[in-house]
Subunit: 506 residues, 2 copies
C-alpha cells in the first residue's frame, strides 16, 4: 500500500524518537546503577548517539519529507479532505517541526562541537571548583561558555535578545519584559512575607530522622495512593532525583535518601511523580503521537507547575498532613499531630540553598539567578564579579550571606554547562501551579476537601482533562489563558502564600 | 595526522562495538527494571539497533577497510615493520574478521528477516505452550525454525554438517564426531555414578529458607571476597540470572531470589561472577582491543568453564563449606556443621530440570538435548515425535519421566528461538573446568588448601594469566591444549566426580 507523505514523515520521526529514547535509557542507567568506571565508555556511547540524532534532526531527508508533507497537507486542505481537528493538529505539528528544524540547521557544526567540548570541560571544572571552593578555577570555562552561547544566539538570529533566544527551548515565547512584569510583584512581596514569618512563627526545626526502609515505604505508599501503575512506572534511586520517559508506556522516576533529611525522599517522590504524571498524560493518540511535537511537553514551566502542584499544593498541605501524620509517626518520626508534620513540611526559613528552599523564599533564589544571567549575557557583567554580585543580592533579598562560593554561586550545575535561560521556569511553575489550582478549585471544589476523602483521582482527572493533553499545541501562557480564562498573573501565587501563612503563623 | 588503514578499521569496529554495547544496555535494563508495559517500545528500539548493527557488520565500507588493512599488513610484514607478537595478533584479528564477515554476508537478507520473525513467533508460542502444557501449539513454529535454520546452514555453505555449521558461532571448530568421542564415556559413567549415590547417600534435602536480606548479604559477602570492584561491577536482580558486559570497564551481573531455594541466589551469584571474571580478564590492551575479535570471549564452553569453576569447584567444595557454614548458620539456615552445608550444596539426586541439575546428572540433560537436536536437523526426526523421544531418553538415562511436556521438552527457551548447537557448550564447560583445574592444582597447589587460607586471589591470578587473556586467539580445544599440554578429555571430569563422591557418600 502506498504511504502518504504524512505517514512517511511520521516514520522518520518515529525512528528519531527511538534514538532519543535510547539516549534516555542510557542516561537513566548512568544515573541509577552504572558503576563509576563505566563513565568514559558511556560518554562515548552518548556522543555517538548525539551525533546520529543531530544528523537525523538536520538531514536533507527530513527537509524533503517535511516539504512533501506540507504540500500534501495544503492539497488535502484545498480538497477539504481533513476534518477541522485533524487540520488544526497537522498545521501545528508542521509549524513546530519547521521551527525545530530551523533552529537545528542554523547552527554551524563547528559551534556544536565547540559547545559540546565546552560543556564537558565546564562541568568538570565546576565540580572541581565546587569541591575546592575555588571559583577562579571555573571562571575561564564559564567565560568561554558565555561567549559560545552568545555566538549561538547570534547564529539562531531570532527577533529576540540574546538571553531570550537561549531561553526559547525551555520556555517558548518568553520575553524579558514579560518576566520582569511577572516577577516584579514577588520581589517586593516575598521579602515582606519572609519578614512576617520570621517575627511570628515559632521554630519547628526537625530533629528526628527515618530509616531508609521507612522512607522507602512511605514513598511507595504515596505513589500507590497517587495512582502509580507498576506495569508502567519504575522507581530507582539516584544522586539527583529526576523523572524521565523511555517509551510511550515506560516511565521512570528516581528519588534519594539524605541522612538527616527524613522528608527529602518523600517530597522528591511527590515532585518527580508530578513530572511523570504530566508526561503520562501527554496526548498519545494510541502512542502514534509519541514522536510528534504535539505529543511533547510544552515548556519547563508547565512541567514544573505539575511537579510543584503535587509537591507543594498537595504533599505540603494541611489536609495532607492530617491524612499522613500517623503514617509518619508509625514510621518512627517524632510527630504527634497533623500540625507537627505540617510545620516541618513548611519550615519557611530563608537559606542559602535553592534546592532546599521552601515556597516562600524559592522565588528569590530564582530572581537572583535570572538577573545575573541576563547581566552576564547582555550587560557585560564580568565573570570575575559574579561571586560578589551573588553575595550582595542574597544579602539584600534573603538576608543571608554565603560563607563561600560553594554555598553561593557554585551551588547549581546549570551554568557549568552553559544552560542559561532555564532558571525562570522554576518560578513560573509556581505561578502557573497557583493559577491552575485556583481554577481547579472553582470547578471541582477545594483541594483540602478532595484530600479529605483520601482519593486524589478527581485532581488527576481534572489535570488530565484540562492541562496535560494539550502537549505542545499551546505554549505556557496560552495554556494558562485557555484553562483559567486569564493571562498568567502573580496574584494567585501571592494569595496562596498569604493564606497559607495566616494558618501557619497562628 | 594521516591514519593507517589499521587505525581506520579500528575506528569502524569501535563504532560497531559502541552500538552493540548500547544494545546490551537496553537488554540489561529490560531484564532488571523495565516496567512490563515498556516491552513493545523496547522491542522496537532493539530491532532498530539490530538493523543498524547488521548493516555495519556487512557493509561495503567494512569490506574495503578490511581489504585495505590486510594489504597494509602484508606490506608491513614484507618491510619487517612489525614485531612478531603484533604480526601474530594482527593476522589472527584479520582471519577472525574475515570469517565473521563471510558468515554475515553469505545470508540472504530475506532469510534474516524470516528468521527474526520466526524467532519472535516461536518464543511467543513456546511461552503459551509452556503455560498451557500444549506442545502441539508450538510444534508448527518449531518446524518452521528447523527449516529456516537448515536453509541458513545451506547458505553458510561450510565444509560441515548442518548442525555443526549452526554450532560454530558458539563453539568454533566443534564437530559431531569429536562431541561423540567426548560425551560417550559420560553416557556410560554418569548413570553408574548416579546409581552409586542413590544407594549410599542419605537424603539431605534442605527444608529451611533464608530471608531476602540474608541471601543478599551472603551474596554480597561472596562477591567482596571474590574481588568484586564496586567501581566496575553493578549487581541487580532479574528473573533469569545473567552476566553482561556494557563497556570496557562496565560489568554487570544479576541474580535472583527463589522462595524455598535458599541457595539459588548464592550459587547464581557465584556462577554469573565466574562469567564476569572471564570477561573482565579478556585482553584489552588499554581497552583498545575491546572492539577487536581478539578481545572477545572465544566460546560458550570456555565461558561456561569459568562460571562452573567458581560455582562448582569453589562454592560447592568441602573447604568452601568449612569457610562458610557459620555465615549460613548466622543468616538463619538450619546448618550445624560444614558437612551440613556441603551436602545441601551437592544434593546429587537426578531430576527433570536441567537448570536445577547438579554436576552429576547435568551432563545427561545435555546429551539428551544434543542427540535430539541432531536428530531433528540431520536425521529427519519428526517434530511431533519430540515429546515421546524426550521422555523415553529421560527414562533411560536419568530414570525419571516427565509428567508433562512443560516439565519435559518445553522446559528450555533455546529451541523456541531456533538456537540449535548451543547446549553442548554447557557440558563441555564442565570438562574444560575439570581439566584446567587439574593443571591449576599442579601449578599452584590444591584448591582446598588455597581456599583454606581464605584468599582466592591466587586462583584468580592463575586464571587471568593462563586462561582469560587469550580471547579469541585460541578456540576452546586449542586453549585447553595450550594450558594443560593435553587435548581436551573426559577423564578429569570423571576423576573429579569420583573423588567428590567418595567423600560425599562416606
Amino acid at each position: 500500500m502506498p504511504q502518504t507523505a504524512w505517514q512517511l514523515l511520521g516514520e522518520y520521526l518515529r525512528e528519531t524518537t527511538l534514538l532519543g529514547s535510547i539516549q534516555n535509557t542510557l542516561y537513566w542507567d548512568q544515573n541509577t546503577i552504572m558503576p563509576s568506571s563505566g563513565a568514559e565508555w558511556r560518554g562515548e556511547q552518548l556522543s555517538f548517539l548525539a551525533k546520529k540524532l543531530h544528523a537525523r534532526q538536520t538531514s536533507e531527508e527530513l527537509c524533503e519529507l517535511l516539504d512533501n508533507a506540507k504540500s500534501e497537507f495544503s492539497q488535502d486542505c484545498l480538497n477539504a479532505k481533513l476534518d477541522s481537528l485533524t487540520s488544526r493538529d497537522r498545521s501545528r505539528n508542521i509549524e513546530l517541526l519547521e521551527e525545530d528544524l530551523r533552529r537545528q540547521q542554523s547552527l554551524d557544526p563547528d559551534l556544536i562541537v565547540q559547545l559540546a567540548k565546552a560543556k564537558a570541560n565546564g562541568y568538570m571544572l565546576w565540580k572541581e571548583a565546587k569541591a575546592n571552593n575555588d571559583f577562579q578555577c571555573f571562571a575561564p570555562a564559564l567565560q568561554n561558555l558565555i561567549s559560545l552561547r552568545k555566538e549561538q544566539a547570534k547564529q539562531l538570529d531570532e527577533p529576540r535578545s540574546c538571553w531570550e533566544t537561549l531561553a526559547q527551548p525551555y520556555e517558548p515565547g518568553l520575553s524579558i519584559d514579560r518576566l520582569k512584569e511577572l516577577f516584579h510583584p514577588l520581589r517586593i512581596k516575598l521579602p515582606e512575607l519572609i519578614q512576617k514569618v520570621s517575627k511570628n512563627k515559632k521554630s519547628d526545626s526537625q530533629k528526628w530522622d527515618l530509616s531508609i526502609e521507612a522512607q522507602k515505604k512511605l514513598s511507595d505508599q504515596l505513589l500507590t495512593e497517587w495512582c502509580r501503575d507498576k506495569k508502567k512506572v519504575a522507581v530507582a534511586k539516584s544522586p539527583h532525583p529526576f523523572s524521565i520517559t523511555l517509551g510511550p508506556n515506560d516511565f521512570r522516576i528516581t528519588t534519594r535518601i539524605v541522612e538527616g533529611q527524613p522528608l527529602s525522599c518523600f517530597l522528591a517522590t511527590a515532585h518527580e511523580w508530578g513530572h511523570s504524571l504530566y508526561e503520562q498524560g501527554l496526548p498519545s493518540e494510541c502512542n502514534q503521537w509519541f514522536a510528534w511535537p504535539l505529543g511533547q511537553a510544552t515548556s519547563m514551566a508547565v512541567h514544573e507547575s505539575q511537579s510543584l502542584f503535587w509537591e507543594n499544593r498537595i504533599a505540603r498541605s494541611l489536609q495532607f498532613a492530617k491524612n499522613y501524620w500517623k503514617h509518619f509517626q508509625k514510621a518512627g518520626a517524632a510527630i504527634n499531630c497533623s500540625d507537627d508534620l505540617w510545620h516541618v513540611m513548611n519550615p519557611f526559613v530563608p537559606g542559602l540553598n535553592r534546592v532546599e528552599a521552601d515556597e516562600l523564599s524559592y522565588g528569590l533564589h530564582i530572581m537572583i539567578r535570572t538577573d545575573l544571567e541576563i547581566a552576564l549575557l547582555e550587560q557585560d557583567l564580568p565573570v570575575r564579579e559574579l561571586p560578589m554580585q551573588w553575595n550582595k543580592r542574597y544579602e539584600e533579598l534573603l538576608g543571608v550571606v554565603p560563607e563561600n562560593d560553594r554555598e553561593g554561586c557554585l551551588q547549581d550545575v546549570h551554568w557549568s554547562e552553559g544552560m542559561f535561560g532555564y532558571f525562570p521556569s522554576y518560578l513560573l511553575g509556581h505561578l502557573i501551579s497557583a493559577q491552575l489550582s485556583k481554577t481547579l478549585e472553582k470547578e471541582i471544589g477545594a483541594i483540602g476537601s478532595i484530600l479529605e476523602t483520601g482519593n486524589i483521582k478527581p485532581l488527576l482527572k481534572w489535570l488530565r482533562e484540562n492541562v496535560h493533553h494539550y502537549g505542545r499545541s499551546l505554549n505556557a501562557e496560552e495554556l494558562v489563558k485557555k484553562v483559567t480564562g486569564e493571562s498568567l498573573s502573580t496574584r494567585y501565587f501571592i494569595e496562596y502564600l498569604e493564606t497559607k501563612l495566616i494558618y501557619l503563623i497562628n
